[in-house]
């Protein structure tokens, strides 16, 4: 390598791939991945979140899975917790909804109310 610029490039590129290992400071996307969730299609939802987040280079957002959250009939379920601990639960998720949530909620801070559990309960 012949310049500091080259070093910086490698740094940036690899760091993105390792962001998972840093502490959970930013937003957390928790995808329910129990049997019901998987059966309902939670895995493509998860992949969609991961792809969107990487595309937009959101290094402080982590995607994790969890077990059964409880509302099995509303699976796939995704919870979004911001850095202050405020939680929003999205239900009946699809990959397309995931993309919108990333754009509106995660990036711009606007909850997609129609996808939330509150709306579904109505």
């Amino acid at each position: 390598m012949k310049s500091l610029a080259e070093l910086e490039e490698i740094r940036k590129k690899t760091l993105d791939q390792m962001s998972l290992r840093k502490g959970n400071d930013g937003m957390r996307v928790i995808v329910g991945m129990a049997t019901c969730g998987i059966a309902a299609g939670a895995r493509p939802v998860m992949s969609a979140f991961v792809e969107e987040i990487n595309k937009r280079n959101l290094t402080d957002v982590t995607v994790t899975m969890t077990g059964c959250i409880g509302v099995c009939r509303l699976e796939p379920v995704v919870e979004i917790i911001d850095k202050d601990g405020n939680k929003v639960t999205y239900v009946k998720m699809t990959p397309e909804k995931a993309a919108r949530i990333v754009a509106e909620h995660i990036v711009n801070g606007r909850v997609c109310v129609d996808y939330t559990i509150g709306e579904a309960e109505k």
Binding site: M1, R11, L20, N24, A34, S47, T64, G67
Partner: protein
Amino acid sequence: MQLYRSHVLVCGGTGCTSSNSEKIISEFEAQLANNNLQNEVKIVKTGCFGLCAQGPIVVVYPEGAMYTMVKVEDIKEITEEHLLKGRIVKRLLHNETHDDGSAKSLDGVEFFKRQMRVALRNCGVINPENIDEYIAYDGYKAFGKVLTELKPAEVIDILKKSGLRGRGGGGFPTGLKWEFAAKQPEGKKYVCCNADEGDPGAFMDRSVLEGDPHSLIEAMAIAGYAIGSDQGYIYVRAEYPIAVKRLQIAIDQAKEYGLLGKNIFGTDFSFDLEIRLGAGAFVCGEETALMTSIEGHRGEPRPRPPFPAVKGLWEKPTILNNVETYANIPMIILKGADWFAGIGTEKSKGTKVFAVGGKINNTGLVEIPMGTTLREVVYDIGGGIPGGKKFKAAQTGGPSGGCIPASHLDTPIDYDSLIQLGSMMGSGGLIVMDEDNCMVDIAKFFLEFTVDESCGKCPPCRIGTKRMLEILERITNGKGEEGDIEKLETLAKNIKASALCGLGQTAPNPVLSTLRYFKDEYMAHVVDKKCPAGVCKSMMKYVINAETCKSCGICAKQCPVGAISGEKKVPYVINQDKCIKCGVCMEKCPFKAIFKNV
């Protein structure tokens, strides 16, 4: 580019490797393939996490769930439950991470949260065999800064301001050492790294070498720039094959990236690095003996002056620093001298890595700011003494150091406070002892080591330490004589004063230190012919309490030499002539009817 949603870090330090962490990795890969997760989950082999008592360690991100004592058989469950379904396998979690159902992450665990990992910053975090991961966490950034923004004298200035002192045990100000070498006339100079780590029980350097080899490479290159050298040597003990392998991989990768070799970063600075293996001599961790060994001669120390910074390897100006000292340097350059000087105490800046062992729950590696008290290390970070036993002493500095008794538990740990107590920081070994340890026996243990490792060049060490050991052997065999303790003190004083090198000069320390704080134990051995802790075999015996004995016969069955006899309804008896004092009977007695009679 692979988009992983989860990273699984498996500890690849020597401790966990010997507990099959390599097999764990291959089992993970197999299980991931079975479940079609190989494109979503990345397995990363890292360096040592430090909590060696609980290895093998597996940490799953992004949750930070820390699994301990993982077996190969557990991998299927971890994959199917956690990685596939997101259900953390609670039974494998580090016990502290249980917290009303939800998992505490690694950083919340008591063992880790009191540490300040500077030298160990990347251990357990990155894959040491991947230079890109090192670069991702600001690796080689300090080097780049130094080459393009700083003059050599400025680098040395930063080091001096930071207050960094040698972490190998000497505690000599690093900046000053580099300055001496830099001041020598231009010409061939050498940068050496002491990775011999001979203290028994110490593995701080090993963890850095196995877990973050690039930090060493970067620091040595910076040192080369600062003093005007283009050649470095890393002297690693041959008993560290994993470290040697990872170092060589790291060097090769650095060379490939042009970070070692000619005209680095397009400047006119060139630096090359080579590994040299030790051959099993503790004395080769001594500065001049190490250099003599690299030169191809019998590894024996040479008189100083001349000092290595003036005339070292092949009579050229040479600096020699410890691995841990080097590991701190990139951070000091990046975060600044003031940041480093803000950690620690007035005369001991920064952090120190300790290898905590002995009678302590959390044996392993910890890095703490200088000034942390011994009490904190033993009880808060170390998790206290197993079995609820009483703390007796902590030995620091290995065979060159001394012990710190309970009365000084609140001593803040730094270079000078330890010396005042009659011990020394040493390279960072910290062995905890409890009420069941005999301090005379401990002194003998360390002296046995030094006698075996003495190079033999000078009579005070070659013959003197041997004579001290002979006296201690007599004392622990119940044959202590009047005047023995005075003889020990005379020998100790004179060996310290006249020995040629640090090995001899510090060999008497364990004896002097235990004499200082535990004289009564010595007196009991010499005068009363008793070992209060019940360790010295010739002065204690195992006895069966006739009242408590239920004649179950288990002890007799367990005794390896058939020294116990008895029958139903009659208390069993130990034949003291046959007894080899192994202690199995006491261990196995279900009624606690056997005890040590001292």
